[in-house]
């Protein structure tokens, strides 16, 4: 029941939002809607029984597909993340004005719907539906309200991801016809006994879609451009949550269904991911645009998660689970800061900024905390995740862990660089009359910070929430 609510609330409110012409009221409306979603998802944490967390209804009988949703530990975590993210985004971007704001917020809520659906669907075809539905609003958001190069860039992003999912569609169909009880439901798909050859082919039909979405090296080139060009609010959605769709899909639909092939090619995939980490970190070091820097750092982090997933031991997987949440929180925090800086000073170029710490000490402090979480300093949330992931990767193969470890150092380099160039040093004419952030921005960032520390100091609840998912996955994977 709650599962259905999680989709319905944003869907309905989103459609309604299109008709609210007044900017202030549509902002409030969107905020209220997202808060409602948050309430429901928290509620779903409390009521973990069947009645609340499962919903199923006949939909396309002769296609063997049904409209069935379900919340498991991982689903709860990711829906919670999504539900937290949107209010944060809405408040953080409250000050920035978008023309046709009703369309903007409507589309935002629709993309929320799509994301929720992806995390909730327990039917492969339904999953595919939402997978696309999350993409389309994002496309419109990016290329209507984005930067000057937005149209080609976001189009590339769209076609790239769309192509990936089309190939996946073929895979889905093959899976359906192989499936003896002609059904798309999660349970029946997990039961299929695939021949090795079928696994090989199907795996490579599914994986690209997810690899592009995550994205991992070398499928990542759409990402920095898109992040750079799209409005920050959308960038937050893309990087905070949509990126998780890829990982989630790997955990939910790829590894359990094709364990053998996943094992067979784990070295290739992990190798690429690890190389990608170093590669992305290196590139991040020479970026001047804050958004690009964050984008590349995100690629590096995702690379680690993907690699660890395919290492496939419980420690690492557990790490990935909670890191999905933590990375979402941290990177949204980073984007909020970027957004605040850009809105105040009108530029994202680090070379043009500097000395903001004198003008906006609170902003500086909060950013430093978020940035340190980004480099996984102990007692911040990211440390727990990365510790577990590295440990898992280490179990899989020492050398991957060592190489991946180098990215920790590189991360420190570019992050501190960023802090120094933007916040320290002396002010210049761009930043000389900067002011500190106001209360609701403080509020948002402090929410982020509180999450960072609470997850970092006492991660136990989150771990327990996802324990079951991890065990089942690892169980299948063994």
């Amino acid at each position: 029941m709650l599962a259905l609510l999680l989709i319905l609330i944003p869907l309905i409110t989103g459609v309604v939002a299109f008709f609210i012409k007044n900017e202030k009221s549509v902002k409030t409306w969107a905020l209220v809607a997202s808060l409602a979603t948050l309430v429901v998802s928290i509620w779903s944490l409390i009521h973990q029984d069947n009645y609340h967390s499962v919903y199923s209804k006949e939909w396309l009988p002769d296609l063997g597909s049904s409209f069935s949703l379900g919340l498991d530990g991982m689903g709860r975590m990711l829906t919670l993340l999504t539900a937290i993210a949107f209010p944060v985004i809405f408040v953080a971007t409250n000050k920035s004005t978008y023309k046709d704001s009703n369309q903007f917020y409507g589309l935002m809520l629709l993309s929320l719907t799509g994301l929720m659906g992806v995390f909730l669907a327990t039917d492969l075809l339904l999953f595919y539906f939402f997978w696309e539905l999350a993409l389309v609003p994002a496309y419109f958001l990016c290329s209507k309200w984005g930067g000057e190069r937005r149209i080609p860039v976001t189009f590339k992003f769209f076609v790239y991801t769309f192509l990936g999912s089309l190939i996946m569609l073929i895979g889905i169909l093959y899976l359906y016809f192989i499936n003896p009880d002609k059904s798309f439901s999660l349970s029946s798909i997990y039961k299929i006994q695939l021949t090795d050859r079928a696994q090989d082919i199907l795996f490579w039909m599914f994986f690209p879609a997810f690899a592009i979405k995550m994205p991992i090296f070398p499928f990542h080139t759409w990402q920095p451009d898109t992040y750079e060009q799209s409005p920050t609010a959308t960038t937050m959605v893309l990087s905070g949550i949509m990126v998780k769709m890829g990982l989630f899909a790997v955990i939910r639909w790829l590894l359990p269904v094709f364990p053998k092939t996943a094992h067979q090619y784990d070295n290739i995939i992990i190798g690429f991911s690890v190389v990608g980490m170093i590669y992305a970190s290196c590139i991040a070091m020479v970026q001047d645009d804050l958004k690009r820097l964050v984008a590349y750092s995100s690629i590096a982090h995702i690379g680690l998660m993907c690699a660890t997933l395919f290492a496939g031991n419980s420690t690492g997987t557990q790490g990935v689970m909670i890191q999905m949440f933590n990375h979402g929180i941290n990177i949204i925090g980073l984007w909020v800061v970027v957004e605040l800086i850009e809105r105040q000073f009108g530029t994202r170029k680090m070379s043009e900024l500097g000395g903001i710490a004198q003008k906006a000490p609170v902003l500086a402090m909060l950013l430093v905390i978020v940035a340190l979480a980004n480099v996984a300093l102990p007692l911040t949330n990211a440390f727990v995740g990365e510790f577990l992931m590295f440990s898992g990767l280490y179990h899989f193969n020492v050398w991957y862990a060592v190489i991946a470890g180098i990215s920790i150092i590189l991360a420190a380099i570019y992050t501190l660089n960023m802090i120094q160039k933007v916040f320290y040093g002396n002010t210049n004419r761009v930043t000389e009359n900067g002011v500190d952030i106001n209360w609701n921005e403080k509020l948002i960032l402090s929410v982020v910070v509180i999450l960072i520390f609470s997850m970092g100091i006492y991660p136990k609840p989150m771990i327990e929430l996802t324990q079951a998912s991890v065990d089942s996955l690892v169980g299948v994977f063994k």
Binding site: L60, P61, D62, E132, S143, R150, L166, I167, I201
Partner: protein, 459 residues
Amino acid sequence: MNVIVLSAIWGVVMMFSGLFIASKSKAKFIAIAGVVALLIANYFDLHHKVFINSDFNGLLRYDSFGLIFITIALVSTLLYLLLTGRDIEKVGNHVYEYFALLFFVLCGVGIVSVYNNFLILFLGIEIISIPLYILTGADKRNLKSNEASLKYFLMGAFSTGILLMGIAFIYGAKGTFGLEMPPIATPKLPVMISIGLIFLAIAMSFKVSAAPFHFWTPDVYDGAPTVFTSFMATVVKAAGFIAFVRLFEVSFGVMTDHWQFTIAIIIGATLIIGNVTAVFQQSVKRMLAYSSISQAGFMLFAVYSVNSLAKEGILLYSAAYCLATIGIFAVLIKMRDYTFDGFNGLAKQQPLVAFLTAIFLLSLAGIPLTAGFLGKYYMLAAAIKSGTYIPLLIIAMLCVAVSVYYYFRIIQAMYFKEGSADAVDVTSSYKGLLVFTATLIILLGIFPNSFLLDWFHVL
């Protein structure tokens, strides 16, 4: 049978009312009334209540497949007339004749969707083609229109020759013109059947504009008056597919593995040529012509895999395709300038129209929640079910990705580009109809069963 008879009759009615009614503007009302009448007649058809009751010695075969398609065709035609009826008056003086010809075409559509005999097929195709030659050339002052008409006629006649040759060989092989084919004992296909099959396939490919027999399509669609292009590209083309599928299911269904490879080649060629060539077009009208070729490539999967999924799929697909294309043409007709730049900033002037156009385009591109997606989905499913070559599917998918390029160019123009494009004389009823069309597309995309496919089993 009702529909066939009534449409023919109504064609005559249109002709004569042309003699007695002076004002042009009445014509479309009579026509709309006619289509409504046809829908009623079709309702009786659906329940097997036939006015003129006679057995056709197996020349016709009324099954749910054909009947449902006739319904789709009639609904599409109704929408088409409601949306663009007024623009037909602008084409030339012989308004009533145009409508009459449209009704004759409808008669042909009715025939080819229920035929059960090569003779009927031949007559049906001709009865569709000949009025279309005329309608293509309807804009007599316009050289492009003339040229299109002549090209269409010459190539059409040529394809008729090929069709007949095919029929002749099939007859030579089996001695009757009935569609049913006796099961082939020998592992190798008799040569005469093989040749006949190829020639029939080619002739039908020509009608549905599948490569490499598609060359007439862009020129004719481009040259013909836009209203008639809209009709040609939707109802007529879909009817061609129904005929194609029926032919290959009933006649050659028993020997699929002998010809699937050949069809696969045609599919591949059609998809690639259609999509890739569309990319570079500058005129939306011409782009839509190529897009219709690429869509045909997808519909051919139904011919490739003649199974129940394919038949349901082709119905759904043609419904989705007709609705979306009619919608887009209805918008296109209202535009001053048919190039992509002509759409720049339409969302400013006409937010609703732009939004609906976006839905039509998304449906054509096959984005989920639109009927277009499910259509493509069924095609793929059918193809996979009847066992296909993965490379072909991959090609198809790549082509879909390419198609996104040219469909989204319009969306980009409407929403993201600055400009002052505007649609002329947009009435609220027109908007309402567009909304209705879009709603149909969405509904078909979400609940295909309750709106279409369940009948397939009921009837």
